[in-house]
């Protein structure tokens, strides 16, 4: 085989491999995007050309799917998780990074170890506790449940960054006249910002996509968009076009996010805890 044919084959093989990966990753997304705009009768047809309609989108916002309210629920739950988790995780990360605890790293590892317990086990006591507290089917319950798995990971992400900030600067700030808290705010937080941003993106993604806890803990009022997807399985069969319309709304923020922050996210992961 000559050098040039070998190169040709290599080039083609690479092309095919890339095409396969692209198909596997983007095929479903394209399917969802297309189906969302198809007439119900076109759903099963693998038609590339069809007359797009907004009918499914309109229908999904209507009874019994309530996409409007459920999107709002999802936004509130996600933002609530974000707003509460980040300060808590930053404070905890600082403590784990700077203070010595009896037992050493047992505590910081313990926080992470809680995540090895399958959610399906945790959900039972959570459900009982929330019922006693009258929190079932509230957004607050979902925020708390989300925090139970967002905060531990966020702590570890941010801790990696704080570990790499020299103590000198904080001490300098304290001698310059700042309280410890002020030194953290003025010096540590700005320096750990890439890590906090990484944690924020992670937190946003997993809270937004969270399905299981929301399914068990909500019934009607607090149902999120992700759980709402199930309502498209009607007695008349699965309304794929409605599901696709909902799916489109679910993936929308991810598409926006991946466009703008993907680079930052990768950088944060590489320069932080992994290093």
């Amino acid at each position: 085989m000559s050098e040039s044919t070998r190169r040709m084959i290599g080039k083609w093989a690479r092309g095919i491999a890339i095409a396969l990966v692209v198909l596997v990753f983007f095929g479903p997304i394209l399917w969802i995007m297309a189906t969302a705009f198809k007439e119900p009768r076109d759903v099963y047809a693998l038609k590339v050309f069809f007359t797009p309609t907004l009918q499914n989108i309109y229908a999904s916002f209507d009874t019994p799917f309530f996409v409007g309210e459920r999107t709002w629920n999802s936004i509130v739950v996600t933002m609530g998780t974000l707003v509460l988790s980040l300060p808590i995780a930053t404070a905890a990360a600082y403590a784990f990074s700077r203070f010595r605890f009896p037992g050493g790293s047992v505590w910081s590892l313990g926080v992470l170890a809680t995540q090895f317990i399958p959610p399906v086990i945790v959900i039972i006591p959570l459900f009982v506790a929330f019922r006693h507290a009258n929190l079932l089917d509230t957004k607050l319950a979902l925020v708390i449940a989300n925090m139970s798995f967002v905060v531990p990971y966020a702590i570890w992400m941010i801790k990696g960054f704080i570990d790499s900030i020299p103590l000198d600067m904080e001490e300098a700030a304290q001698i310059d006249g700042a309280s410890r808290l002020r030194a953290i705010w003025d010096v540590v937080v700005p320096m750990a910002l890439p890590g906090i941003a990484t944690a924020a993106i992670f937190c946003f993604v997993v809270s937004w996509n969270e399905f299981f806890y929301a399914l068990v803990l909500s019934r009607q009022d607090a149902t999120t968009l992700q759980v709402g997807l199930m309502s498209a399985r009607t007695e008349r069969g699965d309304a794929w076009e409605i599901m696709a319309a909902m799916g489109l709304i679910i993936i929308l923020p991810m598409l926006v996010l991946s466009r703008f922050v993907q680079k930052y996210f990768a950088k944060g992961l590489i320069s932080g805890s992994v290093r």
């Binding site: 600067m169 001490e171 300098a172 001698i175 310059d176 700042a178 002020r182 003025d186």
Partner: protein, 357 residues
């Protein structure tokens, strides 16, 4: 400005004792250098004064105020860190402004003070830069400016020059000295570099193993070292320390004999002679003779290492002196500048003088 007083200050880290009951008074406006090898407790002492470390026992006073329970921010001290401790996300101007900002000084007054401080350390044109855009010397100047921008009671400097190259170190040393003279602020300066200690200090505290070995002016430390540690630590090349015996007006070691000395002590002792207090000599007046082991020309003089039996001693010879390794030469010691230490305790014995003095 204020005096700093430490009484009975101790510091333990677990079972390790970093400081053994330290007493130290630094006068108002004084430049005190804590000098010692790494791990001697000098930085711990400074951090205790700063409030960054809590003493395990003892009291610290700044001026007439006990500051044991005062937080660093309220101690009114300024500190220059070894790695400068600059805030990387702030510009030079913001860095210098920070101590004023946290103290809530109005913006207009801040600007004037920043300009003054920046001018004192010649940073004027760099105010808009970020620390990472500066050279080591410039960063050092920013750290200094941040320290002097408000007038603190005490300056603390933790090896501020050790990250600079040799040439810059000499320049910055002079600048720090000038600045302290001008401002007259009580200064505690930590270093392991004896040249810095000798040139900067009003008084030097030589530390080792958590204890002050000697406290005195640079002259006292150099001319009358209190013990073997100080004798060996101060001076470059270090003092020659020769173990031997003293008794009835003479010192003797296997290949050395010095007569005509007056001191009361007798028994095992260590004789100390600085290289510059020995001269290469010939003829009858020679105190010791040996073979030349190495000759090093430093530019201003020759350092001659001479083998006296098993002992190696270093003598300073004039730069014009020409000798070669392997030659036999004689050395003469300046009797008025000999040091004698107890072999057991390492403490200085009375200053031996020649009989005719």
């Amino acid at each position: 400005m204020a005096a700093v007083t430490l009484t009975g200050v101790e510091k333990h880290f677990g079972t390790f004792t970093a400081l053994h009951s330290l007493d130290l008074t630094i006068a108002d406006g004084e430049f005190l250098v804590l000098l010692g090898p790494s791990g001697c407790g000098k930085t711990t002492t400074m951090r205790i004064v700063a409030g960054l470390e809590e003493p395990s026992a003892g009291n610290i006073r700044i001026g007439d105020r006990a500051v044991n329970d005062v937080r660093p921010k309220d101690r009114d001290v300024a500190m220059v860190f070894q790695n400068y401790g600059l805030y990387p996300h702030m510009s030079v101007e913001e860095n210098i402004a920070y101590p004023l900002k946290v103290r809530g000084l109005p913006k207009a007054e801040r600007a004037a003070r920043i300009r003054q401080a920046a001018e004192k350390v010649e940073l004027g044109p760099l105010l808009d830069r970020k620390p990472r855009q500066l050279s080591g010397g410039q960063r050092q100047r920013v750290a200094l400016a941040r320290a002097i921008v408000r007038t603190p009671q005490v300056f603390l400097m933790d090896e501020p020059l050790s990250n600079l190259d040799a040439k810059l170190r000499v320049t910055m040393r002079a600048e720090i000295k000038h600045l302290q003279d001008e401002l007259g602020v009580t200064t505690i300066y930590v270093t392991h570099d004896q040249i810095e200690a000798m040139t900067l200090a009003d008084r030097v505290a030589v530390m080792s193993q958590g204890r002050i070995q000697q406290l005195g002016t640079p002259e006292e430390i150099y001319d009358t070292p209190a013990n073997l540690f100080v004798a060996g630590f101060i001076g470059s090349p270090p003092m020659n320390l020769i173990p031997g015996e003293v008794g009835s007006g003479s010192f003797s070691a296997p290949s050395i004999r010095l007569d005509g000395l007056t001191f009361g002590a007798s028994g095992p002792a260590v004789l100390g002679i600085r290289p510059e207090d020995m001269t290469v000599a010939e003829g009858a007046g020679v105190d010791m003779a040996g073979t030349v082991y190495a000759v090093e020309l430093t530019g201003e003089s020759n350092l001659v290492t001479v083998l006296l039996g098993k002992e190696r001693v270093i003598a300073r010879a004039p730069r014009s002196w020409r000798g070669k390794a392997g030659e036999t030469i004689g050395l003469k010691a300046d009797r008025s500048r000999l040091h004698l230490f107890d072999k057991e305790s390492g403490q200085r014995l009375e200053n031996p003088r020649t009989a005719d003095q």
